[in-house]
Symmetry: none
Subunit: 208 residues, 4 copies
DNA sequence: AATGAATGAGACTTCATTCAT
DNA sequence: TATGAATGAAGTCTCATTCAT
């Protein structure tokens, strides 16, 4: 996971891991520090030796990851994509989807926390906007413009395109891997083809 | 709001309204019954005269609404849409979007609760799947098929289409009305045209 | 005691009494709320239904008393004294001493708290200065001037006189009733005569 | 300060100094050992290497000082006074007052601790009575008797005289240097003359 | 000797829930 | 039906003290 970080004692790593999982599973407010302690196998007081408060623990669980891991993680992928200079944007999408699936399923606990707690904690919101919103979104605009200039993507304001592409991918992953993992899904490849097909040509019949 | 229901005393309505707003604002676990009581202008004990427990209050806030209000609400809209038998699916989309905007902005508190608490309460999940998942999704499949048969929408498994259309609309509303209401947005009409355009023709250039 | 006040439930009175005694006995910081609860025969939570915090309890124990009881108490005595218009200031002193003895021994718990905690709590200090310092001191100056004008007390700045008289009385009571109650003391009357004698004529031999 | 004592490492002196100041400032019970450690610039554990417990630290802060420093300090002064064989007790008082002012203002932290914590710790009380009560009080009686025999001080039980003189001086210093240092005070010399005048001749008019 | 991570008892406080009025 | 005082379990957090390094 992301705790391979460094200068942390075993206990501290245990606390972070336990907190991450419990926050994801039950929500921040419904998780007690004594549960975290028990799961981490430490005394409750130990938690507060390292984190000033429960809130501080939440921010720690969420913040350095956001900064150190997710930021570079996403950026690295984007750079790969850009450097690879795919001949066609569809290849870009395909790479993107594959990568997002890995990312989301790998970091599902962390993402759940972010999504669940974001609305309730100003501090989290600031961090999220700071480290994802601005940075990543700008990169994505560049990508879209790149393929627009290559004449592969329709012209127009990139934000609307990003929203449509992004939400399509996101809702697919959400549906398949989080909400209804037990439903009967077709082969990954086929589903992805379908999404790219729809994104590329739209849902309208050509003759219109 | 939705409390115009019926056989509820003023106190009960007050409790439900207060609970709805506070749950939406701070989350279920972080809201105390005494806060609810204060906001509703009743004594703490009064809440428990009407609702067995705090959890019961959450379910009450969320469940009968889901059943009595949202179900019909959505269905009524869909029937309107279906009855209207739009000549073109784009008109259907347009009506759908307008309607969803109203619905979401009107019921933002309620929806926040559902989204936030869904993952943590088995009972809620069951209700949601029962009353929205199955019911609504089936209707939507019907709509898609209707326009597929009219030759306006590309053939293919409706679910993927629903996901793409739904998530596009949803992410637009989410972005504009919930996440970044203070950003500089263009005219609603233009934005909607853009979405429908993208949905219809896709993001790929035609000659491909 | 001072809890004969009013609109307080039995429990609340119990809490105040228990807190007063324990704070006096062990000091504020060394007294736990669970001890107070046990001594008062209530659940620990009950304390916090009535007092926002432990600090709030301290202020309550100390403040309204200072305002409602001690203020009038002292004032009433002073007025009695002033109204009585003693022929001689020695009679005033005698009355004063008798009264102070009663007051201090009656309110020993309360006074201990004030003396012990005053240095550590800004709020207390403010209250004390407000309600005793200003008010009482001014009254005392009036008394001194009264007897100065009658030609019974030496002229000069009243504050120094008040300090000497006050501290003599105070140190006598402190020694006899608080610090060394088990020592062998002479008859009260004799001791008081001695003090008044010393205060009146000083410690120097007359011929000087 | 008083820690120039001896065989103490820098660390130990730092701990004692930090503890003294913090105990004086916030009270014993409200001071944490970690605060002391931080202020002293040592690790938390180091305190317990030198002092068995927090209580032991308090006793150390207060005890050897009481024995080694204050005792001799006071005694030395008294001997000076006695050796000097002032012609007049007023000179003695003047020297005494000057000396007490220095002593109190120099050792204010230490004295605060003694005064504050004395009532709560049996051990402290014993030490105090042992090393000050008995010893010093006996010396003072001697001084009083000395001037009584010289015919300068009125005859009578010395204790009452000591109390009056002592408390007058004490209350002056307390008022001027501790409680209301920011008030408008007259010249030290004038104030002291006033006190000695009052102590010598009393507050009554001579003709009585 | 010194460190500081770890502990666990216990501090203060909150809160859902009960019950006499 | 409504109240709100009372409860006690549980929550967050502090702190003196221990111990491996």
């Amino acid at each position: 996971m992301f705790n391979d970080a460094d200068n942390l004692t075993e206990k501290q790593k245990g606390i972070l891991t336990a907190a991450t999982e419990l926050f994801a599973e039950k929500g921040y407010a419904a998780t007690s520090t004594s549960e975290i302690a028990k799961k981490a196998g430490v005394a409750e007081g130990t938690i507060f030796r390292h984190y000033k408060s429960k809130k501080d623990l939440l921010l720690t669980v969420v913040s350095p990851v956001m900064i150190k891991i997710i930021g570079p993680y996403i950026k690295k992928d984007l750079y790969n994509v850009l450097d690879a200079e795919f001949d066609h944007y569809e290849d870009f999408l395909r790479a993107m989807i594959a990568n997002r699936i890995n990312f989301i399923t790998d970091n599902i606990s962390f993402l759940r926390i972010v999504v669940q707690e974001l609305p309730f904690h100003e501090e989290l919101k600031n961090q999220a906007v700071e480290h994802i919103g601005k940075d990543i979104f700008e990169k994505l605009r560049g990508v879209i413009r790149y393929y627009q200039e290559k004449g592969q993507i329709v012209p127009g304001h990139p934000d609307a395109i990003i929203r449509m592409v992004g939400s399509s991918i996101f809702s697919y992953i959400l549906s398949r891997y989080v909400l209804f993992p037990e439903s009967a899904w077709e082969d990954e490849e086929i589903e992805i083809d379908r999404i790219i097909q729809l994104l590329s040509n739209g849902i309208g019949m050509i003759d219109e």
